[in-house]
Each structure stands twice: as structure tokens, then as C-alpha cells.
């Protein structure tokens, strides 16, 4: 074959001419679809993440274009954003009425892809990664933000907690008319919304405050009164602001008056808190408590979380906990049972390459049950548990882990980010989802 037949001379120029035209946009959309289908057909994944990537890489205007004239609600937090997004989506009419992104596809590409599939729907409830929120928001400013908590997560990869809080503040300053639903139980969130005007503030107590002991304004010490859920800076005037809603136990108060008892079909106190947040957003949008309750009590597994899988005669429920604050919630949830436990730990890029955060968690409440550890970094968690006085077994595979418990056992699995994903793949392949 002659060389000049293969020459690409002129092609780049032609493509450059095309960029930005509607024809180019259609081409990119088709390409994204095609790549996604290939990925799905070759069982590399659902294909959506790859489609989303192609779409947002090749068409940088796609996000702002697809977002145009839509009502956007962004949900962000270190912990609980996936579940709370699912809950708010359910409360506001479910995915038939609401555009939403799949668990984890929460950066620019994932948000763009979800919006590209809007169809006739105009309202979007989107989970956005906390460090990407300002980036997404710059291209497609939200109508409302739901800001829940900020704690340490993958310190080697993402900037530190206070610098994210600072970026969120700047983001809100450039979007002054946005409505913000803010959990002011978290001092970082209180700081973020301090100068914003349209704020629906609420308190859904967060137990984890080791990441917020320093005043975000003057860097002095913040004192916590955990018994009454209050905090204030010892030097300046920063402290917990007054809030419109307070959630205690399972009771939601507005202006000091009990307005609802929160219920949800998902387990754990932390999901009750997430449900309270979804309730507040629903009520503020004029949805009745009855409708909200019905949505929140019929919700089942969210991206595989909380589902029960039957595997060789044993029953496994999977939870993700990827940082000390998340673990704290899981430990609280499991405190009233002695169910056997599988802990899985990886240290890939998405998990944070460093496992030292395991020492910021008090695992001693697990001393009363059978514990098995798995994952690429199973010896890191094994050593941690040994020093915490928790006896355990180390195994190489999920099969070994599950079969090491008696038949009929109800087993809880808790893993960090990529380890949780591979456990879910295993459970879906080998097990049967029964609930």
C-alpha cells in the first residue's frame, strides 16, 4: 500500500472545523455509546463509565450544554452521598421523574453522562465527588446544593479537608442565588455556608469530629460539647449556627416542633440521618410527609449496598466504609449484634495508597465476634486488629472467607472502595441477591 494513502494530512484540520458544531456533538455522542457497548459486550463493565469518559473528554462543552435549563440538585459529602442521592431521588419521584447518576460515577464525566440521558426529565439529583464539586459547579452551577459532611478520605490523593471547605465557599460565593441545604452539625459545613444567604440549615449529629478540631477561621481550637451537640471556637465568634431543622434519635424537629418520625428500609443509624436529609429536601419542596415516608421505606439496595446475598447457604450483606468516619458509623450499627464479620482492605489509587488510617479507628467493639480479613492489604488490617485486641483469621479468597462460617450464618461484609467493588462482583457472580 502506498504511504500517501495512509496519510492523515488535513484530517486534524477538518476535525478542528467540526468541533463545537452540532454534527460533532452528535458524532461524539454516538462514539461514546459505541465505546460503552464494546466495553459492556466484552464484560469490562457496565460501559457507562467509559461512555461518560469519551463524552466529556471529546466534548468539553457537553456538561454545560446538557445542563442548560435543567434544575440541578448536587449532593456532596465525604460519607453518605450515594445513599442520600438515591433517597432524595426516590422522594422527588424516582428515576422516571428525576435524572440521577449511578453510584460512584460522580465526577465531571459521570454527571455529564447522566444529564445526556435526560430525555423529557428536567429535574436532576446528582451525587458529586466532594473535590470535584467546584469543578462541576463552575461549568454547570446548581440550583440547589445538599452539603452533608467533610472528613478525611484518601489524604495522599485529595487535598486536606479544610482546603475543600475553602473551595466550596468560593464556589457558593460565585453562585449566590443557589439554595443550600447544609448540615451545620459539621463545623466545616457551617463554615462553608457562613456567608451564604439562602440556606436551609439542619443538624443531623455527626459523631466524627477529630477532623474538625481546629477553627476554620482563626485556626484556634474548636471545643465540642458532644452531650448537647454544640461546638464553638475558644478564640473567635465561630460556633454552631442556629438551624431550621434538628434531627435527634428518629425525630425531626422544625423550629422546636416535632414534625416527623423518620423511618427507612435501609439499615443503620447513619441511614436514618441520610433519610432525615432527604425528608428535609422533600418537605422544603412541598412534598407531603406521607409520600416521603412511603418513598424512604420502600427503598432497597443502593448500588449493591445493603442487599442480602445468598452464597453457599450463608447470607451476606455488604457495606462500604472507606475512612474513619464511615467506619465509626458501621461500628455503631453493628454494636447491637454479634454477627460474624468479613473485613476487606485494599490500597489502590482510589482507596488511598496508605493504610495508616486504620489506626484512627477503634476496632475493639469487634472483640466479641468472629472476624475474617481479606483483600490485597489483608495483613495491614490483620496487624491493626491484633494491636486492637480483636482476634481474627486471615484468608486469601471470598469463598474461603464465607465458607469459614457455619452454614446458615448471617455475615456482614465491610470493605473499602475498590475492595467493596470486587466483593460485590463476587457476590453477584457466585451468589444470589435475595433482598
Amino acid at each position: 500500500m502506498k504511504k500517501d494513502l495512509l496519510s492523515l494530512d488535513g484530517v486534524t484540520e477538518k476535525v478542528a472545523d467540526l468541533i463545537g458544531t452540532s454534527r460533532y456533538q452528535r458524532l461524539v455522542s454516538s462514539l461514546a455509546e459505541a465505546v460503552g457497548s464494546v466495553s459492556k459486550a466484552t464484560k469490562r463493565g457496565s460501559g457507562e463509565a467509559l461512555s461518560a469518559m469519551v463524552l466529556s473528554k471529546l466534548d468539553s462543552d457537553a456538561l454545560s450544554r446538557f445542563a442548560k435549563s435543567k434544575e440541578l440538585i448536587y449532593v456532596s459529602a465525604t460519607n453518605g452521598k450515594t445513599t442520600t442521592t438515591a433517597m432524595i431521588t426516590a422522594v422527588l419521584g424516582g428515576s422516571d421523574a428525576v435524572i440521577t447518576n449511578k453510584a460512584g460515577n460522580n465526577m465531571t464525566a459521570g454527571v455529564t453522562f447522566a444529564l445526556s440521558r435526560a430525555g423529557e426529565r428536567n429535574l436532576a439529583v446528582l451525587e458529586v465527588d466532594e473535590s470535584h464539586l467546584p469543578i462541576v459547579s463552575k461549568r454547570a452551577p446548581a440550583t440547589s446544593y445538599v452539603l452533608m459532611n467533610l472528613s478525611r478520605d484518601q489524604l495522599d490523593r485529595v487535598s486536606e479537608v479544610r482546603s475543600i471547605a475553602e473551595k466550596w465557599r468560593t464556589m457558593l460565593a460565585s453562585n449566590p442565588s443557589a439554595r443550600v441545604y447544609a448540615n451545620v452539625s459539621d463545623p466545616h459545613i457551617a463554615y462553608v455556608v457562613r456567608d451564604h444567604s439562602d440556606v436551609v440549615s439542619f443538624e443531623v449529629g455527626s459523631r466524627w469530629n477529630l477532623d474538625a478540631t481546629v477553627c476554620p477561621i482563626c485556626e484556634s481550637k474548636v471545643d465540642f460539647r458532644e452531650d448537647i451537640g454544640d461546638y464553638h471556637c475558644v478564640s473567635c465568634d465561630f460556633g454552631k449556627p442556629k438551624s431550621s431543622y434538628v434531627f435527634m434519635g428518629d425525630e425531626l424537629y422544625r423550629g422546636g416542633k416535632l414534625v416527623a418520625i423518620i423511618k427507612t428500609s435501609l439499615p443503620g443509624n447513619f441511614n436514618l440521618m441520610n433519610a432525615a436529609v432527604a425528608t428535609i429536601v422533600g418537605v422544603e419542596r412541598g412534598i407531603s410527609f406521607e409520600a416521603i415516608e412511603s418513598a424512604l421505606t420502600t427503598l432497597s439496595g443502593v448500588g449493591g449496598r445493603y442487599s442480602i446475598y445468598k452464597v453457599s447457604g450463608r447470607f451476606v450483606t455488604a457495606f462500604m466504609a472507606k475512612n474513619p468516619a464511615g467506619w465509626q458509623q458501621i461500628i455503631e450499627m453493628l454494636s447491637d449484634s454479634t454477627q460474624p464479620l468479613i473485613i476487606g482492605i485494599n490500597a489502590n489509587v482510589a482507596d488511598g495508597k496508605d493504610t495508616s488510617w486504620l489506626y484512627d479507628i477503634d476496632f475493639s467493639p469487634f472483640g466479641d465476634r468472629e472476624v475474617v480479613v481479606v483483600g490485597e492489604r489483608r495483613y495491614d488490617i490483620a496487624v491493626r486488629l491484633s494491636y486492637g485486641g480483636v482476634s481474627h483469621r486471615v484468608v486469601d479468597t471470598y469463598g474461603e472467607a464465607i465458607n469459614s462460617f457455619e452454614e446458615g450464618s448471617e455475615i456482614t461484609y465491610v470493605g473499602n472502595y475498590t475492595e467493596f467493588s470486587s466483593a460485590l462482583r463476587y457476590l453477584n457472580e457466585v451468589g444470589e441477591e435475595i433482598k
Binding site: S220, W357, R377, Y387
Partner: protein
């Protein structure tokens, strides 16, 4: 033997509070009567502590910790006491002559360690695995840790904890990590460093216990630590002979 973890609410955000727990557990497992106390910011620093452990932290917290230690005065005067100090990262920096924060290029330290820390020029923040060959006087196997700091430290005098085999350590140009003398061990290694390097924990305990290092037998947990070290060091391409960290 009383192990005191200083200000885990300020200096301990990288799992470094585990070091205190590990010293306590290992001492107890060897039959040494040990106790463990976490001293939070604002609490008095106990005068009867034997081992004081300081962890890493962010700019604001490390200055608060420095101020509190300065007001207290106790750790600043090592000559009159017989305690051991383990200081990691920000803990190491505030014990030095001066250190750097986002707000101040030169903030005075406690002057216990002859080290100065300055802002990193022309290089990225130092983040990643670090492998260190400890000073031969310490008779320790290869040390490993996870470093994550935005300052470069220069030793003015004295001996570093070890030579950096891979990673960065105190500074890009020096190829050394930390500092040690007969009272202090300072390092940039998180992990926590004592979880990954149990013989360093035993060394600190032995400095207070006349029995000596060799009378300490390996613990149950050490088989798991060996696997952990094997994982980490084989990834770093270390030869098997260097990986064998435990007796």
C-alpha cells in the same frame, strides 16, 4: 512504663496515634507493667510519663501543639528527665529549631531537635512510600513508612535515623530521614511507623527496660507483620535478605 500519646486531637490525623497503642501493647505482651494515656489539647501533660509520642498534623493544629508544649515547658527540658520521645512528621518539625506553615515561612520550634524545616522549592509535596536503612548503631532491619509532607528539613548537627533507599525523607537533596539520639527518635515515616517496624518499638521500650532487646521474644502479631513487610518490600524490589525484619 507509662506511654503518653500527646494531642491525638491535633497531631495524629495520619494514624500516628497507633504508635502509642503499639508501644503499650508490645510492652504489656512482654510482661512489662505498662499504661497508656491519651492527652488531649488543654489537658495537663503528665510528669510521670516515660514515653511521649507525637504524630503528624496540619499547619494550624501543629502550631497549637507547639504553643501548648511551649507553655508547659516540660518536653523542652530533656536534661532533667529520663523519658523517651517518638516524634513523627509535624511532631518532628515542632521539636526542631524552626518550621514552615502556610501562614508563616519561619515559625519557631521547641529547639529540642537540631533540625530546621523550610518550604519545598521547585519540587512537589513529598508523598509516597519511603524505605530507610537505619543507622547501624541501632541494629535495626530495613524500615518502611509512608511519607506525606510539604516541608524540607535540614539537620544542623547530630545523626539521622537512617539513609533513604527509596522515597525522599528529610529533603530531596539529603537522602536521609529523621534524627535520633539516646532520648529521641524523629522520623517522617507514617504507617504508623511502629506497626510496620516493630523492632523500632522494641528498641524504645528497651531503652527504658534494663532487660535489653535480646531478651524480648517475637510476639504473635509479628508473623502478620512479617507478611505485611514482605508485601511492601517486595513491591519496592527489595531483596529477600533485606526484607527479613523479624527474628
Amino acid at each position: 512504663m507509662k506511654v503518653v500519646q500527646l494531642f491525638p486531637d491535633l497531631l495524629g490525623t495520619y494514624g500516628d496515634s497507633g504508635n502509642g497503642e503499639i508501644l503499650f501493647r508490645r510492652a504489656r505482651a512482654r510482661g512489662v507493667g505498662a499504661s497508656y494515656q491519651r492527652v488531649f489539647y488543654g489537658d495537663p501533660i503528665p510528669r510521670d510519663g516515660d514515653i511521649f509520642v507525637l504524630g503528624g498534623g496540619e499547619d494550624g493544629p501543629m502550631q497549637l501543639a507547639r504553643d501548648a508544649l511551649h507553655r508547659d515547658g516540660f518536653l523542652g527540658d530533656l536534661s532533667s528527665t529520663n523519658h523517651q520521645i517518638l516524634a513523627i512528621c509535624a511532631g518532628l518539625q515542632i521539636l526542631g529549631e524552626r518550621f514552615v506553615t502556610s501562614k508563616s515561612p519561619s515559625s519557631p520550634g521547641l529547639g529540642v531537635i537540631p533540625i530546621v524545616t523550610e518550604r519545598i522549592e521547585n519540587h512537589k509535596r513529598i508523598v509516597g512510600e519511603v524505605v530507610v536503612e537505619a543507622d547501624s548503631a541501632l541494629e535495626l532491619p530495613i524500615l518502611t513508612g509512608y511519607e506525606n509532607h510539604g516541608g524540607e528539613s535540614r539537620l544542623l548537627e547530630g545523626v539521622p535515623l537512617g539513609r533513604v533507599i527509596s522515597g525522599v525523607g528529610n529533603s530531596y537533596s539529603s537522602k536521609i530521614d529523621g534524627f535520633f539520639n539516646d532520648r529521641i527518635i524523629g522520623t517522617y515515616m507514617h504507617g504508623p511507623v511502629l506497626a510496620r517496624n516493630p523492632l523500632l518499638a522494641d528498641l524504645i521500650i528497651c531503652r527504658l527496660e534494663p532487660k535489653g532487646l535480646n531478651s524480648f521474644s517475637p510476639l504473635e502479631v509479628d508473623r502478620e507483620v512479617e507478611q505485611l513487610r514482605e508485601n511492601i518490600l517486595s513491591q519496592r524490589g527489595m531483596s529477600l535478605s533485606r526484607r527479613i525484619g523479624l527474628r
